[in-house]
């Protein structure tokens, strides 16, 4: 791939036969990236076709996948984790991105005071580690401390409070919303940047035509920031189907209660690394990682070939 012969050929080739510096500039990145990222990824995909039979590492074809989808115990866990992961993703798409877009729209209003302060505040949770975010919210939502019931009392909804993280019906929604709280800064910033890049003339022209306020946002600005919305959607997708940390810190590796908050990341962790009584199983771990890879790859391809190409880009 890094054939260093110059592409001009002929005379140029005789003048500079080998440009070693290109190799020197590229080598460290290519070596580390290939050795630590690409090869382990390929090796993991390869191992999903192998398993240990009678103490020997043998090729088993699609047997691991058959176990994952066919064995009722594995299949139940897998579909549960996949379903939860989709709910996790849908909550992000339905809550995080619209609120992020709305905040960005408000922040980009011309002449808004304290915009820098608001921006800093909204982005702060994104910088905190999962451990901090997870535990802070665990404490706040804890019925023992009583901060959440007290807050709900302020708005007259104390009766609605429940130990959400401990109840199987609400735990996944609660964890998803905490994750939304943490990551809202990313869509907000990217949309904010896209809104700032809309040229003044376009807005002025709209104002002369009497398009202002809500109408201006929906008819003029929203179509112009569609590419940025595409980007935040795919970033959310990849991030969510690769998520692990927040569920692990809030609900533990078993993703309780009763695995109702189990997503693919925690399922992969328990499977390949083992947890408590469960022994680590590298082959099944590789199989799950392969499925996650295919899911993420499908999402990225849909984005690259289905969405990104169809979105009209406006050149200013």
């Amino acid at each position: 791939m890094t054939d260093l012969a110059p592409d001009q050929g002929g005379e140029a080739a005789r003048r500079r036969p080998r440009r070693w510096h290109i190799l020197v500039f590229l080598a460290p990145t290519v070596i580390i990236y290939t050795a630590v990222m690409i090869l382990p990824l390929i090796e993991t995909l390869r191992q999903s076709f192998f398993n240990v039979v009678d103490g020997e590492h043998v090729f088993v074809g699609f047997a691991n996948f058959a176990t994952l989808f066919g064995d009722p115990r594995w299949a139940a866990d897998f579909w549960n984790a996949l379903g939860n992961n989709f709910i996790f993703f849908l909550i992000h798409m339905a809550v995080q991105n619209p609120i992020g877009i709305a905040l960005a729209a408000l922040l980009s209003l011309p002449g808004l005071r304290f915009a820098a302060f608001y921006r800093t505040a909204f982005f702060l949770p994104t910088l905190l580690s999962f451990v901090i975010v997870g535990f802070i919210w665990k404490l706040i939502l804890s019925p023992i401390w009583g901060v959440a019931p007290w807050l709900m009392d302020l708005v007259g909804m104390k009766a609605l409070f429940g130990p959400w993280l401990g109840k199987s019906g609400s735990a996944l929604i609660a964890v998803s919303l905490v994750s939304v709280w943490q990551f809202i800064g990313i869509p907000m910033m990217l949309i904010y940047a896209a809104l700032l890049n809309i040229p003044e003339e376009v807005i002025e022209a709209a104002e002369i035509d009497g398009v202002t306020g809500w109408g201006q946002f929906f008819k003029i600005k929203l179509p112009l920031i569609l590419p940025a919305i595409g980007i935040i959607s795919i970033l959310t997708f990849v991030g969510n189907f690769n998520a692990f940390d927040l569920v692990y810190t809030m609900q533990g590796a078993l993703a309780g209660p009763d695995k109702t908050t189990d997503i693919l990341g925690t399922f992969l962790y328990r499977t390949f690394f083992g947890f408590q009584l469960q022994l680590g199983d590298q082959s099944m771990g590789a199989t799950i990682a392969t499925i996650m890879f295919l899911i993420i790859l499908t999402g990225v391809c849909i984005y690259l070939f289905g969405i990104q190409r169809r979105i009209r880009r406006y050149q200013f």
């Binding site: 630590v36 090796e43 800093t120 580690s129 401390w145 990849v238 390949f272 771990g285 890879f293």
Partner: protein
Amino acid sequence: MSKARQSTLRTSLVHVALIAYTLVALFPVFLTIINSFKSKQAIFGQPLRLPGPSTFSLIGYETVLKQGDFVTYFQNSTIVTVVSIFLVLLFGAMAAFALAEYRFRGNTLMGLYLAIGIMIPIRLGTVALLQGMVATGLVNTLTALILVYTAQGLPLAVFILSEFMRTVSDDLKNAGRIDGLSEYAIFFRLVLPLVRPAMATVAVFTMIPIWNDLWFPLILAPSESTKTVTLGAQLFIGQFVTNWNAVLAALSLAIFPVLILYVIFSRQLIRGITSGAVK
């Protein structure tokens, strides 16, 4: 007149909405920090009051500093983050320069190859990565973490930096060549100083996920001497889960470095995002 009043009303409504979300964003952090300075009784009795003379207590911080080995954890996190960022910036800039500056066969292909890593998370290769680290004896070393984070940070760094390097004027570089500078000197002495703002942006983007990562420290380097702050805090809180003073103090200690870094770098970060570094 009525139009002016209407627009004042609109501005106030906008501020009400923004302040409301500011409270949502900051309240949990604020709550944690104020309660970390209170006695246990006050934490439960009046969780929302600021610490007063009668409720002020540093017992939580004392427990954390006595029990946890936070100085080591902090050191580990700093070493891993700083070395990884340095390698990502150096190697990333070199590769970005090669891709942006020279036309050679496979240039586009190489760009695409490196771009895979922007979208596909390195975590998916963890199974083989752990085996590889065990085989090379790197498990439970900071080197393992540094290698992984460098590989993880490089794709986006190359992508962003090569965009910026394309904007460096050719005349300048050619003038350097005529003056007899080697390609290395052109890179290190002419181009690197010019893309410094972009490097700062990349540094911030690289730093956040490394400092906050839990997955790789948990799997590749969980030993006592190689724990990072994130993993250390996680385990400490797990052990002291009923000691609320200690938990709140540990959380506050973990927040402070991030807060300080954010104050230092927030302008750079926001400028980087709004200038389109991550399009």
